[in-house]
């Protein structure tokens, strides 16, 4: 039963994430945190952090992580299979069509309309992770606000946007910075 749920959830993630790793993030959040409560928001944020730090697609990383925690190794395999199954069918079909007709124009124009929606979904997931950093799931009061976390976020954002630093390096520095400040304060 749990295997079926894992398979079905990750099948949907595989089927509806269009446009790369970040596009899968809001779908994973919807399935894993909201629909099934397999992870809480804090664990989900850890998962995204780990997925960013390790090679491989976010969807496959998440399928493995959630699958193992919910149902061991078989769970990981089933969830991963679920998330690549739609690709296996759809991309194989597209490969066939491409080599037959070598035309992509309709697909491209559909993609152009999907892109802004996907950007909005990624923005929403990003902001909910920022809220998790700032408040840790508590309600909004001055005392609950994680000022160090917000300061690290601001510095990281500037380093990435203005100075184009490597994202993994920036994340490691944030981790080290928080450890240092946590030990000192």
């Amino acid at each position: 039963m749990i295997y079926l749920q894992l398979f079905w959830s990750f099948l949907q993630i595989g089927l509806f994430s269009i446009g790369g790793g970040y596009a899968a993030m809001p779908l994973i959040q919807a399935q894993v945190v909201h629909s099934h409560a397999w992870l809480n928001m804090s664990e989900f944020t850890d998962l995204i952090t780990i997925a960013e730090m390790t090679p491989g697609p976010i969807a496959v990383n998440s399928a493995t992580f959630v699958g193992i925690r919910i149902a061991g190794i078989p769970g990981a395999l089933i969830a991963t299979f679920g998330c690549i199954l739609p690709s296996l069918f759809i991309v194989s079909l597209l490969t066939f069509i491409y080599y037959r007709y070598k035309k992509l124009s309709v697909l491209q124009s559909v993609l152009a309309s999907l892109r802004p929606a996907v950007v909005a979904l990624i923005a929403s997931a990003g902001i909910s992770i920022l809220l998790q950093v700032a408040l840790g799931g508590q309600e909004l009061t001055m005392a609950n606000l994680n000022l160090i976390g917000l300061a690290l976020f601001a510095v990281a954002f500037v380093l990435l946007r203005k100075f184009k630093w490597n994202p993994i390096l920036v994340m490691c520095l944030c981790g080290a910075g928080n450890l240092l400040l946590g030990l000192l304060l």
Binding site: T49, G56, P57, I84, S87, Q108, A112, R115, L121, A123
Partner: protein
């Protein structure tokens, strides 16, 4: 889609994918660059233009870009078996690495020092994601298409403030895309 793969080609495909997948940090676009370097420049299995088309297909299809690209290249190089071998090579490294991490995660996350590091890294992740959002959002604004900007604003409000199911938002945008494509097609015919 030639499907004339011998064992040597399949093995080469498998280990190339395994290697690329194990050492590529930073998402689907990066992995496509590495695949180009290997299969176009290194092994000469695929030509330049074809690789660009495959990249476009991998990005436009649902699912992880790396897996999609592996399916495309696999079919191209070794038919059905090539596709299977290529996909397994691609998902094996993340499957293994994340399995190991999730076994240690519980012990890992309760350690106060690790928790501090993870917590700090979350700030970094939020910054990385919102930086990507700025780049992508800027790209949408630059198209100067009012429709696309409205889609972006409506989709954001729907998911963030009203909690509308993500799947419905993607379906709605997809349907809109089909409608736009059809009307533009008609206009093109009339002109």
């Amino acid at each position: 889609m030639q499907g004339k793969a011998n064992t040597h080609t399949l093995a080469q495909l498998f280990f190339s994918m395994l290697y690329i997948s194990a050492f590529t940090f930073g998402g689907g676009f990066v992995i496509i660059t590495f695949m180009k370097r290997k299969f176009v420049d290194g092994l000469h299995w695929i030509d330049d233009q074809e690789m660009l088309d495959l990249a476009a297909l991998a990005q436009s299809s649902p699912g992880a870009i790396a897996v999609n690209a592996a399916i495309l290249v696999g079919w191209r190089v070794g038919g059905f078996l090539g596709m299977v071998v290529s996909v397994i090579g691609t998902i094996l490294p993340p499957l293994t690495i994340l399995s190991v991490i999730s076994f240690f995660y519980a012990a890992f996350a309760t350690n106060p020092y690790v928790a501090l590091v993870l917590k700090g890294m979350q700030s970094g992740v939020a910054a990385v994601i919102l930086d990507v959002v700025c780049n992508l959002g800027m790209g949408v604004v630059k198209t100067k298409s009012a429709v696309h900007m409205v889609v972006m604003a409506v989709a954001f409000c729907a998911t963030f403030f009203f909690g509308v199911n993500v799947v419905y938002i993607i379906l709605a945008a997809g349907v809109l895309g089909v409608i736009l494509a059809l009307t533009q097609h008609k206009k093109g015919e009339a002109a």
